[in-house]
């Protein structure tokens, strides 16, 4: 019998990016990179653990927009094209680096990995990643959570409960459509919560969610367990709190594992390092240098001087860090269990894309961790959130305050100088969508198409990703363009419904561009 439990939670999310109007589109690369470096490796890890009889448990959120992208045929084709180009490049690299003791093994490493991805994607999973994840869920190894339809930051939509409800409903519906069953739990976008949201979650049938630490520790009244057991909100939904210690060891820029000097350096990519003529076919067609995913250097130190990556050293470090993480969790559980009348639960949530994309050795670290949890000790056992709740269904009732896991713990990331202009427009659009849904209880034909497309547009505009990008300054032009495009399309659609005319040609175009949620029913806004 374990003394305590560890719930690893991975939040897998990407905004819906699909541009049929261009043959290639830079921001679609986010999806292809995540597939190659995070989602396929995670599935590979789960296969290996299952094959070796290692008991593991993982709570995984697959957001609705990500599920939609998994299933989209155009993106599936484009991913394979992307992968084939990578394989081509890696083959060239094995030739170019022939004889170089430092770089040639790495070129082969990449070639093997890309070929393995291709085999996984086509042969093993038949391009159906949702089904691949679902199999592990059916076997009881993972808990699958949903999220808001387009990952809207809900506290800033709280003035429009019907808009919040629509995001939740469509999230649940999309999850059911792609994964076969309604989810029990939800990953609130950015762990963004406000008092009253719990009632909406309960009404839609959800049972639990995750909050940042202060969401639980600042709740009123307070729980005697701190973050080491869930609470129930007054609305009757369970809330789990993030453990600060296990978070820091992985997330922290200074102290965290991913900054170790033997790990792969993200910023030295051959897309930037190699001569233009050689690399040109593999970067952006307009000649803009981009990350290819083939990187040959390790972090080495804080300066710009980088030494070649040594895979064996990095894997050794990953194993060492997994052992260190486990050791700390054992000590933590031993300490906590002594003072609690039930086994403590350590909730460790991370963005899935950290593993493999930002931290190249992340999936290996995770695999080592599960193996060590299984073979090397008995103190801590991995568990899913749902399982813990089923085992310990009793908890105190406390109301968490408005909070998030964003920088500084509240809404500032999404409500500051770069992005606060959004909300006037988002709320205006929300009001109009709600009014339209009320005025058209049973729309048919073209009106129905207009209304459904209006729903798509406002949902896409509400994605918290745009505000986040505006604040972090990484792809601001694109984020602003997406927001404006969706809002302008929404208002034009709304006008047509209101004034009773339809620009058929324009509608067809917009339906062609914005295809997310093909089955959406605008009545989620009623």
């Amino acid at each position: 019998m374990a003394l305590g439990y560890l719930a690893l939670v991975l939040h897998a999310h990407l905004p819906f990016v699909r541009h049929p109007e261009h043959e290639e589109f830079l921001e679609e690369d986010w999806y292809y990179e995540a597939l190659t470096e995070t989602y396929l490796p995670l599935l590979g890890m789960m296969e290996r653990l299952a094959r070796d009889g290692v008991e593991f448990r993982l709570t995984l959120s697959l957001t609705p927009t990500l599920l939609e992208m998994f299933a989209d045929p155009l993106l599936q084709d484009r991913y394979l094209q992307h992968l084939d180009r990578l394989i081509d490049l890696a083959e060239k690299e094995t030739r170019r680096t022939r004889g170089d003791a430092a770089f040639e093994p790495l070129a082969w490493m990449y070639l093997d990995r890309f070929r393995a991805c291709r085999e996984q994607y086509i042969d093993r999973y038949g391009r159906d990643l949702a089904a691949a994840f679902r199999r592990f869920w059916e076997e009881g190894k993972i808990d699958l959570l949903t999220s808001a339809a387009t990952h809207a930051f809900l506290p800033l939509l709280s003035v429009q409960p019907d808009a919040v409800r629509a995001q939740i409903r469509l999230g649940i519906e999309t999850h059911r459509r792609h994964l076969g069953e309604a989810p029990r739990g939800i990953w609130l976008p950015e762990c963004g919560y406000y008092p009253g949201l719990d009632r909406i979650l309960r009404e839609e049938g959800l049972e639990y969610f995750v909050l940042d630490m202060h969401g639980i520790t600042h709740a009123d009244p307070r729980s005697p367990y701190g973050v080491y057991a869930p609470i129930y909100t007054p609305g009757g939904v369970a809330a789990f709190g993030r453990d600060q210690e296990s978070s820091k060891q992985v997330w922290s820029a200074e102290e965290g594992y991913p900054g170790d000097l033997d790990y792969r350096e993200f910023y030295r990519d051959i897309g930037f390092d190699l001569p233009f003529d050689y690399i040109q076919p593999y970067i952006h067609r307009d000649g803009i240098r981009i990350h290819t995913g083939i990187k040959y250097y390790r972090i080495t130190g804080k300066s710009d001087w980088k030494e070649p990556y040594v895979r064996a050293w990095a894997l050794n470090k990953a194993a060492f860090h997994a052992g260190n993480f486990l050791f700390n969790r054992e000590k933590q559980v031993e300490w906590l269990a002594g003072g609690m009348d039930r086994p403590p639960l350590i909730v460790a949530p991370y963005d899935a894309e950290l593993f493999g994309h930002w931290w190249y050795e992340g999936p290996e670290w995770l695999e080592f961790l599960f193996r060590k949890l299984h073979f090397d000790q008995e103190t801590v056992k991995p568990i899913t959130l749902g399982e813990y709740l089923d085992a310990y269904p009793e908890a105190p009732v406390c109301q968490p305050p408005l909070c998030s896991w964003g920088h500084k713990g509240y809404c500032e990331v999404w409500l500051e100088a770069s992005n606060d202009w959004l909300y006037r427009h988002l709320h205006e659009a929300g009001d109009r969508m709600i009014r339209l849904a009320r005025e058209h209880p049973e729309a048919h034909g073209t009106t129905r198409r207009l209304l459904n497309q209006a729903a798509r547009e406002i949902l896409l505009a509400q994605a918290s990703d745009w505000a986040f990008i505006m604040k972090t300054g990484t792809a601001v032009e694109y984020a602003v363009k997406r927001t404006k495009d969706h809002l302008l399309r929404f208002f034009h659609l709304e006008r047509q419904v209101r004034e009773g005319w339809v620009d058929e040609a324009w509608l067809k175009e917009v339906e062609h561009y914005d295809t997310c949620f093909p089955h959406v029913d605008y009545r989620i806004y009623r």
Binding site: L156, V159, T217, H218, G226, D341, P396, Y410, E412
Partner: protein, 267 residues
């Protein structure tokens, strides 16, 4: 100007005069009154290509023959110009204002709120009139009030602060420094002598509390699926004696340490 192939980009960079000169040189007939986009479209066509004959079937014998001419001409024009849509186009910019009263309050964090508003000129004029002042003698202000646990009647707030705003459409971050309080805002006109006439009232919001609650939870429930039962708090509830890192920071500066990474890259 040579006979090298033209691109849309180079043509767009030219002035109307230059375009006409180019058209004359290349013997491309330009009608009077064509817009720049239309001229460019004509210039981009390969030289001396006739407009494709309209795909009309031969007019039946009984139809008057003059009906063919306008059809062919229209088809030729259609080849040359993009067909104008009969529908109003989608605007390319979001509006500055939506033409209706709005005052919305949002919570940013325990110490700061955010408001956006729009008030039509007409309402302002009325306001000044009611106060008996002119626009120059009055300020447009946003009054933020702490209305925790009361029914606000305009005068009984626990605390309020006035923020001058200079535009009838705008947005602003408001420092309130009262975690855990309930707020609302009013947009109105204020005379120099202090009289305030509220014109719009916002929604109410609750700023989050900070710090551990002094009260320990007394209500416990058990939930199995959809079934919720209230239960007695366990007789010997034990929690971790001192919770590691559970003394969370309560000041804005210290809270900069809380929360996940702002973005990848996290380093």
């Amino acid at each position: 100007m040579s006979k090298e192939p033209l691109t849309k980009k180079t043509l767009e960079a030219m002035t109307m005069v230059q375009l006409r000169a180019l058209a004359r040189e290349r013997k491309v007939p330009l009608k009077k009154g064509l817009r720049k986009a239309e001229m460019i479209a004509l210039l981009l066509k390969p030289p001396r290509e006739e407009a494709k004959p309209a795909r009309t079937r031969k007019a039946p014998a009984k139809q008057p023959s003059r009906a063919r001419a306008p059809r062919a001409a229209a088809a030729k024009a259609a080849e040359a110009l993009p067909t104008p849509s009969p529908f109003p186009p989608m605007p390319t910019e979001l509006p500055e204002a939506y033409g209706r009263d709005t005052l919305t309050l949002l919570v940013r964090d325990p110490w700061w709120l955010f408001a956006y508003w729009e008030i039509p000129d007409g309402r302002l004029l009325e306001g000044w009139g009611q106060l008996g002042v002119s626009a120059e003698e009055a300020d447009l202000i946003l009054r933020l009030s702490d209305v925790s646990n009361i029914l606000y009647d305009g005068t009984n707030a626990h605390w309020s602060a006035d923020f001058p705003v200079y535009h009838r459409v705008g947005r602003w971050h408001l420092e309130a420094n009262r975690p855990g309080a309930t707020f609302l805002a009013e947009l109105g006109v204020k005379a120099r002598d202090g009289r305030f006439l509220p014109l719009l009232r916002s929604n109410t919001v609750l700023a989050p509390r900070v710090g551990e609650s002094p009260r320990l939870a007394a209500q416990w429930i058990r939930r199995r699926g959809r079934e919720v039962t209230e239960i007695a708090p366990p007789a010997s509830v034990k929690g971790p004696a001192v919770q590691p890192a559970a003394r969370p920071a309560v000041s804005p500066e210290a809270l900069a340490e809380v929360g996940g990474p702002t973005s990848p890259p996290y380093r």
